[in-house]
Structures are given as C-alpha cells and as structure tokens.
C-alpha cells in the first residue's frame, strides 16, 4: 500500500520557480512511489495467486500421492493375498498328493495282505487235509473178528448104546446136523463180517474223498473269495482315491479361484502415474529501490511525454545567464531541466 510521504518542504529560501520545480520533483517522487507501491502490490498479488495455485496443485498432488500410497498398499495386500492363496493351492496339491500316495500304498499293502492270507489259507487247507489223512483211523473192526465155531459135544451115551447093541446112527446124524448148522451159522457171521469190512473200507475211501472234495471246494471258495475281496479292495481304494482327487480339485480350485479374485481385485488398485511435482516458487525479492527507480524513470518518461513540446527559442542575447531554466517554468524548458537534473541518488529512501 502506498504510503503518503509527501511533505511540504519549506521552500521559503527558494525562488518560486525553484519551489515549483522542487514541488514538481516531490510530486514526481510521490507519484513514482505510488506507482512502485502499486507495482509491488500487483506483483505480491500475482505471487500470492501463484502460490495459492501451486499450493492447490501441491495439495492435489499430495492427495494423489496419498491415494497412490493407499492404492499401492491395497495392491500389495491383495497381491500378497493372491500369493498366499496360490501357495495354499500348491500346499493343498502337495498334501492331497501325499494322501493319494498313502492310499495307493495302503491299497498295495491290502492286496499284499490278501495275497499273504490266501497263501496261508491254501497252506491251511492242505495242512488240514494232510492232518485228516494222518488222523484217519484205518478201521479193522470187521477184520479178524474172533468168531467161534464150536465143535459138537461128544455124547457120553454112545458107549452104552454100543453095549446095548442100539443104533448110534441117530446120535451121529444129529451131531452131524448140528455141526453143519453151527458151521453154516459161523460162515454166515464171517460173511457178514466180510461184507461189513468191505463197507467199512468203502466208507474209509468215502471219507478220504470227502476230505479231498472239501479241500477242493475250499480252494475254489478261496479263489472266488480272493477275487471278490480283491475287487472289494480295489473298489474301496478307488473310491477313496476318487474322493481324495475330488477334494483335491475342490480345495486347489477354491484356493486358485480366491487367488485369481485377489489378483483381479489387485488390478483395480494398480499404481497410477504421478504428476511431476510442481517446482517451488521462489520467494519474490522486492528491491524497492530498483522498483522505485524503475517507477520513477517510467513516471518521468510519462511526464516527459506529457509535457508540451516547444520550439527551440534563440537564446536572447541579453540574457544574463543567471541560471538555466529560471525563466522556463511556464515554458516547459525549465521543468525539463529540473527533471533532467533529478538523480536517483537524490531520491529519498522509502522505509
């Protein structure tokens, strides 16, 4: 703001022309001060406007930087989430692959156990058959049965009959008949024992055959059972392996899907291009002296331009030359001289 510094200078000692010129000089100086002050005010306003504009841009840049930092943090966090889920997918895959390997190992173990059990069963069947044949009682119950064939009793009356002259033919006939019947009965019993012995031996063979058939049937059953159990083992472990594969697929897919979702979300927070930071506006350095001198020169130039131009007069011959311009205040020439004598050094300092 221009400061009113114009002050009436006591001009009692000066001539009127000098007073007028000095007053003009003071007015010019006052005018120059006002112009310089106005110029400084304009520059200050310009500076303030530029500063405000730059501050607004800087605030915008700071907001953008904060947003960029937030985006970067979000971007990094989501990428980290994606990386974790990707890692989980790999871990799930490894874990389920290990499970699948264990299942396969258990399947082979079960099949091997089955093979071992079948081997033991075959051995057991053979051993049972052998043991039965060893324990089989080769019965001789109907062999060498102690059958008796009793001889006929000697009749003690035969001697008496002979002495009497009686016939012994009846006694002998009866004895012969009894002997025949006894022999026949004994033969019948021996025949029965023989037949029973034949039946007994056939029964022995039947027992042996039954054991052989039982062994054969057991081996057939064992073979069928082995096949069925093998199928069951395969089916059960196939089912288990399928379940593991399904679970693996689901787990890995879920983790990969979550990783993809996180990556997709991260793309929305990709880093943005930052504007080039605004250069800092240097503080203006107001050289009021230079400003005032420039303003004074400008004011003088305006004044000179505004002054009426007069044709150069011939210097009167009688002129005493008491002083240049002493008579030119109204003509303009004196003022020009005064203006021409104005020196910057004489310009009063502005506080």
């Amino acid at each position: 703001m221009a400061k009113k510094r114009g002050k009436k200078v006591p001009v009692g000692q000066l001539s009127k022309e000098q007073q007028a010129a000095f007053q003009a000089q003071l007015d010019l100086q006052e005018r120059a001060l006002q112009m310089a002050q106005a110029q400084a005010d304009r520059e200050a306003e310009n500076y303030a406007a530029r500063v405000a504009e730059q501050r607004a841009q800087q605030q915008a840049q700071e907001a953008q930087a904060r947003e960029a930092a937030d985006r970067e943090a979000q971007f990094n966090a989501l990428n980290e989430v994606a990386r974790i889920y990707s890692g989980q997918a790999g871990d799930y895959g490894s874990q389920y692959d290990a499970y699948a390997g264990q299942v396969e190992s258990q399947r082979q173990g079960a099949l091997q156990q089955l093979a071992d059990a079948v081997g033991r069963a075959e051995s057991g069947i053979g051993s049972a058959q052998d043991q039965f044949l060893r324990d089989l009682v080769a019965t001789q119950a109907y062999q060498n049965v102690p059958l008796v064939e009793l001889g006929q009793q000697q009749n003690p009356l035969l001697a008496g009959l002979a002495a009497e002259g009686a016939s012994v033919a009846g006694v002998e006939a009866q004895s012969a008949q009894d002997a025949q019947i006894a022999a026949q009965l004994a033969a019948l019993t021996r025949g029965a024992m023989g037949q029973l012995n034949v039946g007994e031996q056939n029964y022995m063979k039947a027992l042996q055959n039954a054991a052989a058939q039982a062994a054969s049937q057991a081996r057939t059953d064992l073979s069928g059972r082995q096949f069925g159990i093998g199928q069951g083992i395969q089916s059960q472990y196939d089912q288990l392996a399928q379940q593991i594969a399904q679970q693996r697929l689901e787990a890995v897919s879920a983790a990969e899907r979550q990783a993809a979702e996180a990556q997709a979300q991260a793309q929305a927070y990709k880093p943005i291009e930052m504007a080039t930071p605004m250069p800092t506006i240097p503080e203006p350095e107001f050289d009021y002296a230079a400003q005032l001198e420039a303003a004074r020169q400008a004011a003088l130039a305006q004044i000179r331009a505004a002054l009426p131009t007069q044709p150069k007069k011939q210097k009167p011959k009688n002129a005493t030359g008491t002083g240049a311009g002493t008579t030119g205040v109204t003509s303009g020439g004196g003022v020009r001289d005064i203006l021409g004598n104005l020196q910057p050094a004489n310009t009063p300092k502005i506080g």
Binding site: R120, G124, A128, Q129, V145, A166, V171, L196
Partner: protein, 137 residues
C-alpha cells in the same frame, strides 16, 4: 489223534462197552458150558434108570436084547445129542453175536472219530477259505 473232548468221551464209552462185551461173552460161555454140563449130567444120570425101566417091563436083561429097548435107548441118546447141539449152537451164536457187536461198536467208534476229524478238517478248510479277516471288503 486229536479230536478233542468228544473223541475222548467216545473212546471212554467204547472201552466200557468193550468191557461189557467181554463180560457178556464170559458169562455166555459160562452159562453155555453149565447148560451143556447140566444136560450131560441129566441124561447120563437118567440112562440107567431108563435101562432099568425097560428091564422091569421084561424088555431087557443080561440075555435079553429087545428091539424096543434098543430103540428107546437110541432115541434117548439122540434127544440128549439134540439138546447138547442146541445148547452148543446157542452158545456159539451168543459168542459170535457178542463178537459182532464188539466189531460193530469198534466200527462205530472209528467212524465217529473219523467223522469228527473230517468235520474238523472241513471246518478248518472253510474257515481258511472264508478269509474272515477281510470281512470288510
């Protein structure tokens, strides 16, 4: 021979039966011999009274040899022979029956033990074939 308690019980029972058979045979033989002895004694002791009876009827004596008397004595001796023969036959039949029973009982025991063994072997084979430790499959 390993056929367990049932086999041991059967063998023990068989031993008792065998002892009973031996006792029966002994008693049968004793009874038969006694009967034969009784028949022999009875007829032998009755022979002289029979002779005397023919004498009293005038059908016999030191110098008389009647046909009726001779025929009667022969008939008497023949009857005695028939009874001796029947008793001998009875004794033989009884002894042989006991022997047959003994053989039959031994045969039954052998068959029982063999069937026990067969059943056991069949069970072992069936158990082996069943593979019960793989029941879950």
């Amino acid at each position: 021979m390993a056929n367990g308690l049932a086999g041991a019980k059967a063998r023990r029972q068989r031993l008792a039966e065998s002892l009973a058979n031996q006792q029966s045979a002994f008693l049968g033989q004793l009874r038969g011999k006694r009967n034969i002895s009784d028949i022999t004694r009875t007829y032998t002791e009755g022979y002289r009274p029979l002779q005397a009876a023919y004498g009293q009827r005038g059908l016999g004596g030191p110098s008389v040899k009647s046909g009726i008397r001779r025929q009667g004595l022969a008939k008497y001796a023949e009857t005695m022979q028939r009874e001796l023969g029947r008793e001998t036959e009875n004794m033989q039949t009884e002894l042989n029956n006991i022997a047959a029973i003994e053989a039959g009982q031994q045969s039954s025991l052998d068959a029982y033990l063999n069937e026990l063994n067969l059943s056991k072997a069949q069970q072992i084979m069936a158990d082996a074939a069943a593979l019960r430790e793989f029941q879950g499959y």
